[in-house]
């Protein structure tokens, strides 16, 4: 375990954490404000990546693909909200889980139908290709730094939006007590649509940004969805601050766990069992963290509701 390797892995952890934050931010708001469990949120992330690939082949520039894919992701999200989700807001969590599971099945398969099951790829924009040397022995790809930077900028913008604008105030109020906000005369349906569209775009944005360094394939939304749920539950449902803290925690724990678990296990056991136990423990680590956090604080790190 050398210092350069540690720095690189910490950056990787940050990058994963910020990516998870982009996805979890929308999920936690939709969950917190509308009390709606949207399993189909991972699909929005996947669609973002696919749409970016599709629009890149049309426009030929990453920026063009980004703009068009964001718009298309928003349009698809709002269409889903209009056709299905808005009929589920008052319903049981179980109904929401099943219906959004159905949407995962549909869109996952539709993506295979349109683009095929084989993984696709998106080239890294020329300006950000290559790598920089952070210190002797630590080389880091520029695009990953771009993801980190854009994640931080988005997080700051989101914080400003939620903390200092009128709509942000309504969103916070909605997460604390949606019925009361509605009773005070706020058009809660419009608020729901804004929150939903916003969350959809953030997930799509995450998918677009990750597409150049990840293979774009039909199952990519599922893994990230589960991670995003771990993040929002650990952070406290409905809390942007909680999602940010938990996303970084989960991203770092997962990445560092995966890279150093075998080494750590070798301190306490023979190399051969360490090679088996290490990776298993590493995959489980974030779930252990979540179970531990929930055991100590059943409503997550930063509960949004003042109960």
């Amino acid at each position: 375990m050398s210092l350069p390797l540690l720095i690189v892995q910490v950056l990787n952890g940050l990058q994963l954490g910020l990516l998870l934050f982009l996805i979890a931010a929308g999920l936690t708001l939709v969950f917190g404000v509308m009390n709606f469990i949207n399993l189909a949120h991972g699909v929005q992330y996947m669609l973002g990546a696919y749409l970016a690939v599709a629009f890149y082949s049309v426009t030929g520039t990453f920026l063009g693909a980004l703009a068009l894919a964001l718009a298309a992701a928003l349009a698809i999200g709002l269409a889903l909200e209009f056709a299905v989700f808005r009929h589920l807001y008052g319903r049981d969590h179980l109904d929401q889980v099943i219906a959004t599971f159905g949407i995962i099945l549909f869109i996952g398969e539709a993506v295979k139908f349109v683009w095929g099951a084989a993984p696709l790829s998106l080239p890294i924009p020329d300006a950000f290709a290559g790598a920089v040397q952070l210190m002797p022995g630590a080389i880091y790809p520029v695009w990953r730094l771009v993801i980190i930077a854009s994640g931080l900028v988005t997080a700051a913008a989101l914080y400003g939006f939620v903390a200092y604008t009128r709509i942000g105030m309504l969103v916070r109020a909605g997460a604390a007590d949606a019925a009361m906000v509605s009773a005070l005369g706020v058009d809660i349906r419009r608020l729901f649509m804004i929150v939903f569209g916003f969350g959809t775009m953030l997930a799509g944005f995450a998918g677009i940004m990750i597409a150049p360094i990840l293979s774009v394939e039909p199952g990519m939304g599922d893994t990230v969805l589960i991670l995003a749920f771990v993040v929002i539950v650990t952070g406290g449902i409905g809390s942007i601050r909680g999602a940010f803290a938990a996303a970084l925690l989960i991203g770092l724990v997962d990445t560092l766990g995966r890279s150093f678990a075998v080494d750590l296990m070798r301190l306490v056991m023979a190399p051969s069992p360490a090679r088996t136990v290490g990776p298993a423990l590493a995959s489980m680590l974030i779930y252990l963290v979540m179970a531990l956090v929930l055991y100590v604080r059943p409503a997550g790190l930063f509960p949004a509701r003042g109960r």
């Binding site: 159905g102 549909f106 869109i107 996952g108 295979k112 449902i237 088996t276 995959s283 489980m284 979540m290």
Partner: protein, 325 residues
């Protein structure tokens, strides 16, 4: 009083449906003689195996109000007991079954103790987390196939005799397990235990005030539900001669929830109907097109939006409106 008599009559009438379902299962092998026998037997065996797991899930989801999103883990534990013991040369079914059930119950007690501290959405997510832990443990079991899963050389023997070798025998074994599980669950939900469980779903605080330890009732229900999952896994491993981590994936857990909701939750035979509809639709649609999920997904959305109470609820609604004319 009239309402009470009405509900009595209703209970008696509804008992006819489970009886019909089980009879139909018993007659399938005879009817299958005229068609593609082996295929039909294997398919309906699969239906009954998932019906057992769905029954167990309905016990906690439908009656306990506890939405477990990690239930496939129990099925996986039952299946892995068969696979792992098989690798070590132990092919006795009763040993594998007991090992699977004990593992499933212990896992349920350990995880249930943590999960049941959380409510609502948090419960859903933490059961999901434990399901994922079981899944990743299975993928890391390198000596037992890891990611790729484990082929089981031969089906379990029962008391040394290879009675499960024939598909027909396995079919009736699965049917016997399903019927026993159904009757046991039915007795359970009608007992004092079941009433406390249902009451705790409606209002846990009030039940606690009456002097019941809600947590203990829920934990026992969770363990029973896990045991049924283990039983289902034992049969599944024997039916497919294969176990893999995919048995424990969160999608599998989602499918089990779908089965419960599809038939109509909170009525045990609903879980059986749901399992049958799910497995048969999957089979039929995937014959029709490779992209069957594009049809099944919207079907689920429609069921949730328009058929409250699942297919049974829909059926009752139709019957009621026909009667009214």
């Amino acid at each position: 009083m009239r309402a009470f008599a009405g509900s009595l009559r209703k209970t008696r009438k509804l008992d006819l449906i489970p009886l019909l379902i089980l009879t139909a299962f018993a007659l399938v092998p005879a009817a299958a003689r005229f068609g593609a026998e082996a295929h039909v037997i294997a398919l309906v065996t699969r239906v009954m195996i998932f019906a057992i797991a769905a029954l167990g899930l309905d016990l906690i989801v439908g009656y306990g109000g506890l939405i477990s999103f990690g239930h496939a883990a129990f099925v996986g534990l039952g299946a892995y007991a068969v696979g792992i013991l098989g690798v070590h040369g132990m092919t006795e079914g009763l040993v594998a079954l007991v090992a699977g059930l004990v593992t499933a119950v212990l896992f349920a007690l350990a995880t249930g103790t943590v999960c049941l501290h959380s409510q609502g959405a948090y419960f859903i997510m933490i059961t999901l987390a434990f399901g994922q832990m079981a899944y990743f443990t299975a993928t890391s079991l390198a000596p037992y196939g890891g990611d790729d899963g484990l082929t089981i050389e031969a089906r379990n023997t029962i008391l040394g005799a290879p009675v499960l070798r024939s598909d027909g025998a396995l079919y009736y074994a699965a049917l016997a397990c399903l019927a026993t599980s159904y009757l046991a669950c039915r007795a359970l939900v009608r007992s004092r235990f079941g009433r406390v469980l249902r009451a705790a779903r409606e209002n846990p605080v009030r039940v606690a005030t009456l002097g019941f330890d809600v947590f203990r009732f829920q934990l026992v229900a969770y363990a029973i539900s896990g045991a049924l999952g283990g039983l289902s896994g034992f049969l599944l491993a024997n039916a497919t001669n294969f176990v893999s981590p995919a048995y424990m994936s969160w999608q599998r857990s989602g499918e089990l929830i779908i089965m419960v909701l599809l038939g109509g939750m909170g009525r045990l035979h609903g879980a059986i109907i749901g399992a049958a509809v799910f497995v048969l639709m999957e089979e039929w649609l995937s014959d029709l097109t490779e992209h069957w999920k594009m049809i099944f997904g919207p079907f689920l959305v429609l069921v949730v939006l328009f058929a409250r109470g699942g297919l049974i609820g829909l059926g009752e609604h139709v019957v009621r409106s026909l009667r009214r004319g």
